[in-house]
């Protein structure tokens, strides 16, 4: 199914877009924690930068003293002092 049709179905049925479109969902709690759902694995991790692969590209979390609080099949929680979140194509 192309992206356009999925988008339409999601709109028509009022379903959550992240489920239908298979896109990541990022929840930011202040500057202290980021929660990424629907990821496709970690590409790079150190205390200043976490790169997470997703279906729409790489999500970069920048900051200081970053810590991967939990990691399971489709969820990652990153804690630390977060300064930026970037989406790379």
């Amino acid at each position: 199914m192309s992206e356009g049709i999925r988008q339409k179905i999601s709109d028509a049925l009022d379903l959550p877009q992240d489920v239908i479109l298979d896109v990541p969902k990022v929840i930011l709690t202040g500057r202290i924690a980021a929660f990424i759902e629907n990821h496709k694995g970690i590409i790079q991790y150190n205390s200043e930068l976490v790169k997470i692969n997703t279906s729409i590209g790489v999500v970069c979390i920048k900051g200081a003293g970053l810590l991967i609080k939990t990691i399971i099949a489709d969820e990652i929680t990153v804690e630390g002092k977060i300064t930026a979140i970037e989406l790379e194509e």
Partner: protein, 402 residues
């Protein structure tokens, strides 16, 4: 989250170090295989630390080989490891157990006896007597027969009206209330004899003093029967009055009346035969009920069938009781007037038993009548007895002139 943390602590986890260039790859692989990793931290370019469940750790070790990284265990955390460590430290465990037992044992003795009583002389005397009877510092506090000591105390000390023994921790508290005895009048104190009850005088014998009433006379409570004021010489204008300690026996007819009401319709509980059992866990004085299903009975009777003692009463007293709840059905029972009257009489006799036994009864009268709404029988009993109604009352100074 707290639950997950608690579970991890209970089942045990390890803090590991992952060494290798492809640490991230190992993390991804672990996540794909549903291995739960947390608190992943970068130490330097090719070292990571993380925490992992004991079970998952072995699976992770297999994965590590594939991703060409090495895993080192830095620390073992959790109850599982704590217990296995303790198993090696038998002396420590034994010591800890000994400590608990020692604390328990030391707190099972009475180390302090306190008497709560404003009267110091009485307190010292009571404490000495308790020591003599075997209740002293160092007595084992469980199974102490408080009633035995109370009875002994109350029989020995007539001036104690109420006493209680309470054990609070390792302290024994004896609470005493002194009796306020009516002041016993000495032979030399002038007094009157007054009536303690209403009645008709039957017989009067005065040993000392002057009788003011005679047989057949009706007196009411508080009237002076024998006076301690004896007039010596009546001829003179100024009466010479001598105050004496009046003494004598004044017997009078006195009435006691009691009434009871016996309803004609009575509700009685009759067992229906249905019953349910339930388990009760008793820890010392605390009772825990384990109910299997609700007791849907409106009326029931509780009965303890079996008691299983797990720990004897001396060491905490843990026991299981099996309790049976028997269903009861309220049924109405109708009495006729004659039966109700008989019941009323029995009840009245029971109430007046003390008086009937002690005193000389001259007359007994019973009356029955129906209640105004005809639902119950009212029985009343009047008994006439002859008893001494004399009571001494001191003549106060200043009163004598009147």
């Amino acid at each position: 989250m707290l639950l997950i943390k608690l579970w991890n602590y209970l089942s045990g986890y390890v803090i590991i170090k992952i060494v290798g260039e492809y640490g991230e790859r190992l993390l991804n692989q672990a996540a794909m295989k549903n291995l739960y990793l947390w608190d992943v931290k970068r130490v330097n370019d090719n070292e990571l630390t993380a925490k992992i469940n004991v079970k998952d750790f072995f699976k992770l070790a297999r994965l590590a080989k594939k991703t060409r990284s090495r895993i080192y265990v830095l620390q073992r955390v959790g109850l599982f490891f704590t217990i296995s460590k303790l198993k090696k430290r038998k002396a420590f465990l034994f010591g800890a157990l000994l400590f608990v037992v020692a604390i328990y044992l030391m707190s099972s003795f009475i180390w302090n006896i306190e008497i709560k009583c404003p009267d110091d002389d009485l307190s010292t005397s009571v404490i000495e007597d308790l020591r003599k009877w075997g209740l002293r510092e160092g007595t084992f506090k469980y199974g102490l027969d408080k009633q035995y000591y109370l009875n002994k105390l109350l029989t020995k000390y007539k001036n104690i009206s109420w006493a209680e023994i309470e054990i609070r921790g390792s302290k024994l508290i004896v609470e005493l209330v002194k009796k306020q005895l009516p002041p016993e009048l000495e032979e030399s104190t002038p007094c009157d004899i007054i009536a303690s009850k209403d009645g008709i005088i039957e017989e009067i014998v005065n040993f000392r003093g002057e009788a003011l009433v005679e047989p057949g006379q009706t007196v009411s409570k508080g009237d002076t029967l024998i006076t301690g004021k004896v007039v010596l010489d009546q001829d003179q204008d100024q009466d010479q009055v001598l105050l004496v300690h009046a003494q004598g026996i004044v017997k009078a007819r006195v009435w006691y009346q009691r009434a009871v009401k016996v309803p004609l319709v009575k509700t009685k509980m009759i067992p229906t035969g249905n019953s349910k059992k339930s388990l009760v866990l008793q820890l010392g004085k605390h009772v825990l009920n384990f109910q299997f299903g609700d007791i849907a009975y409106n009326h029931y009777d509780k009965k303890t069938l079996n008691e299983f003692s797990i720990l004897p009463r001396l060491s905490g007293g843990i026991q299981f009781n099996i309790v049976e709840y028997a269903e009861m059905k309220p049924t109405k029972e109708f009495l006729d007037i004659e039966e109700a009257s008989r019941e009323a009489e029995a009840e009245l006799l029971l109430q007046l038993k003390g008086i009937l036994k002690e005193k000389k009864v001259t007359q007994k009268k019973m009356e029955y009548m129906l209640d105004s709404d005809q639902t119950s029988v009212i029985g009343s009993m009047i008994i006439e007895v002859i008893e001494d109604i004399g009571q001494k009352r001191e003549i106060k100074y200043g009163e004598e002139k009147i």
